[in-house]
């Protein structure tokens, strides 16, 4: 039973063996470290890049134009801000070239808070990412979805920004990846690099299979009829727990978006049509939040389906996330905040 970092690693291995991935690179991505979150340990085409985010993204774009299907990592999304125009170039080059050049590349990067990362290891980039028109953006919340989305991202001829929720990289899910051993200790012994000298270590990869999660398709992770929660990434398991806790008070439907661009409006719309009550939940900051776009669209297209006003629960609009636990927890939505908000929506008179 893989954690999310292992799931990503196995998907990249599958990509190397079956999907033509020849270059996986970034800061500390190659041996000996294999990524600061271990997502690239043991991969045969993984290598270390200079500490240069613009160079990493430029290299990925050039390789994509040459048909190499690279996977590049920016070590923390917090470091990506000095390379935003490279991201823009990645996103727009198919359009600006009139479709002559495809851009088959994946940029993966850990996003969000939850690891006590302070000011420069806690950023959420999700809303900015959705403004990079031409870029597909995915953000899984479970290992199986991380595996399936990475395989879809590698196969895609468009650039895909693969946001890895930092706080979930060590979490495990309920579903096995096709081909992985059920025993997590067995998997660890096979594919996790040992502590100490790794120079002679080689992974023993399980025979994982071709499992894709379609980009643009959301997942209903908890079915319900009274309130819709639209969420993704780190907030998805929190929403799921809240929905289960509230089962005696109301029926909560949790939509795990999985893809932010393109997003599954049909799934969101169908759920809101059913419930008439909706909470958009994410850890981005409040001003120009992606959830605000979804609320605008909900109001525009579903005004008469709404029983109560739609809500947004998200990060507070501060310049950063403070290190002290009380500061981080006050800045970012926590489960009690989600429970409070859901109870409020449930009790609102229609």
């Amino acid at each position: 039973m893989a954690n999310m970092a292992q799931a990503i690693r196995m998907a990249l291995h599958y990509g190397e063996e079956n999907l033509g991935v020849r270059e996986i690179f970034g800061e500390d991505v190659g041996p000996p470290l294999g990524g600061v979150f271990t997502a690239t340990q043991g991969l045969k085409t993984a290598w270390n890049a200079p500490l240069d985010e613009r160079g990493i993204l430029g290299a990925a774009l050039g390789l994509a134009w040459a048909g190499f299907r690279p996977v590049a990592e920016v070590q923390f999304v917090d470091y990506i801000f000095n390379a935003v125009d490279m991201l823009k170039l990645i996103a727009n080059s198919t359009w600006t070239s009139g479709g002559l050049y495809k851009t088959p590349l994946v940029v993966m990067t850990p996003t969000g808070s939850g690891i006590h990362g302070s000011i420069y290891h806690s950023h959420s980039f999700d809303s900015i990412a959705t403004k990079l028109h031409g870029m597909k953006v995915v953000c899984p919340s479970t290992p199986i979805d991380a595996y399936g989305l990475m395989i879809s991202a590698i196969k895609d001829d468009n650039p895909v920004l693969f946001l890895k929720p930092k706080a979930l990289l060590r979490t495990r899910g309920a579903e096995l990846i096709p081909g992985e051993p059920a025993d997590e200790k067995e998997l660890k012994a096979m594919i996790d690099a040992p502590i100490g000298d790794r120079s002679k270590w080689k992974p023993k990869w399980p025979k994982v299979g071709d499992y894709s999660v379609p980009i643009g398709k959301a997942k209903i992770s908890h079915a319900g009829t009274d309130v819709t929660v639209v969420t993704h990434g780190r907030m998805a398991p929190i929403a799921l727990e809240a929905a289960k806790e509230l089962e005696s008070e109301g029926s909560i439907e949790v939509i795990d978006m999985r893809s932010l661009i393109p997003y599954d409006w049909d799934a969101i719309k169908a759920s809101i049509k059913k419930t008439g009550r909706v909470l958009f939940l994410n850890e981005e900051t409040e001003i120009t939040n992606f959830g605000e776009h979804l609320i605008r669209r909900t109001v525009d297209e579903m005004f008469y389906d709404l029983k109560v006003r739609p809500r947004l629960l998200c990060g507070k609009a501060t310049p950063g996330i403070g290190l002290a636990t009380v500061l981080e927890n006050f800045t970012q939505p926590q489960k009690p905040d989600v429970l409070r908000m859901l109870r409020e929506i449930l009790s609102d008179p229609a």
Binding site: R22, E23, W47, P50, D52, R54, G55, L57, G58, A59, A60, L61, G62, L63, A64, W65, A66, G67, F68, P70, D85, M86, L89, S93, T94, W95, T96, S97, G98, G99, L100, Y101, K102, T103, H133, G134, K136, D156, D157, N158, G216, P262, D264, W265, D266, K269, R296, R297, D300
Partner: protein
Amino acid sequence: MPNAATAADPFKGLEKALLLRIHGLMVRARALEERFIKMSKSGDGYFWIGGPGEEAFNVAVGLQVKKGQGPQFDYLNLHYRSSAIALSMGVTPIEMLRQMRNVATDRFSKGRNFVNHYAIPEINIVPMSPTIETQYATAIGTGIANARTPGDAITLVNGGDGGTAEGDFHSCLVWANRPVLKLPILMIVVNNGYAISAKMREEHGEKKISDWAKVFDMPAKTIDGNDPVESWLAVKEAMAYCRKERKPYLLEAACSRLYGHSSSSGANRIPESDCIALFETKLIDAKLATKEQLEKTWHDTLAEIDAAHQQVKAEPFPKPESIWEDVFSDGLPDSYPRSGGSL
């Protein structure tokens, strides 16, 4: 080094046919750029940016490219002063005129981008961007592709002196010189002495831009880019080094900038050395061509451009709805927001 026989030869042994071919392409590039400028000033196009003054050097580059598609051929990461390179590689004036007028038949960008921003997969000219110096970052990627592919193909990247202040120039230097994988990249800097309006000599302390190569112990040269023969030989030497050694080379070419930066600076003729006029004098002095022959080259070229321009003027502009094409290469889902806000 030239031998005794070529030392006195102003053309250093280059054949007459090649010299006249170079001249013809230089004229074609100049005449086309001057047409773009007129179009930009007469409402037959919008913003102009291009490379009049760089013809001598750029033709020398374009004619020596190993041309084709895929990593077994040279990749070109160009900037917007590269019309003479593209024309020398076989791109036609009418293709460029279409982009200048932003018509639907603009094959490089469907009417979306400025003039002189090509994207030509068949000859490995990767999509060009108006952003300054990002081509040096993407050159890292095409350089890796060349390095991983057996053969002698290389990556070319060009930019101006002003752009070398950007980090991407230095990224390219660092990545091309990684000991674990040197990259066969010919890094070209055309030094015209200006970054838009700011003088190079006031903003840059380095004596020569090519001195940046010293840090990496990589070969470099600064040449007179207004001289097509010196340019030809320098490009030949630099390309040969990259192809054989699979390592980078930094080539700085001093060139004139004959119409300023772009429309933003008025696009008026500036009294600097004109590489074509200088070359024509040499050709006539050496009796390789007569004045009348060279005038005919201009006349025929202008007639060709006139005809192409007239054809382009009759071609339709893009349909507004075409903005939705190519956002994603596999199309947009039906639910993608397209209303531009509330309906």
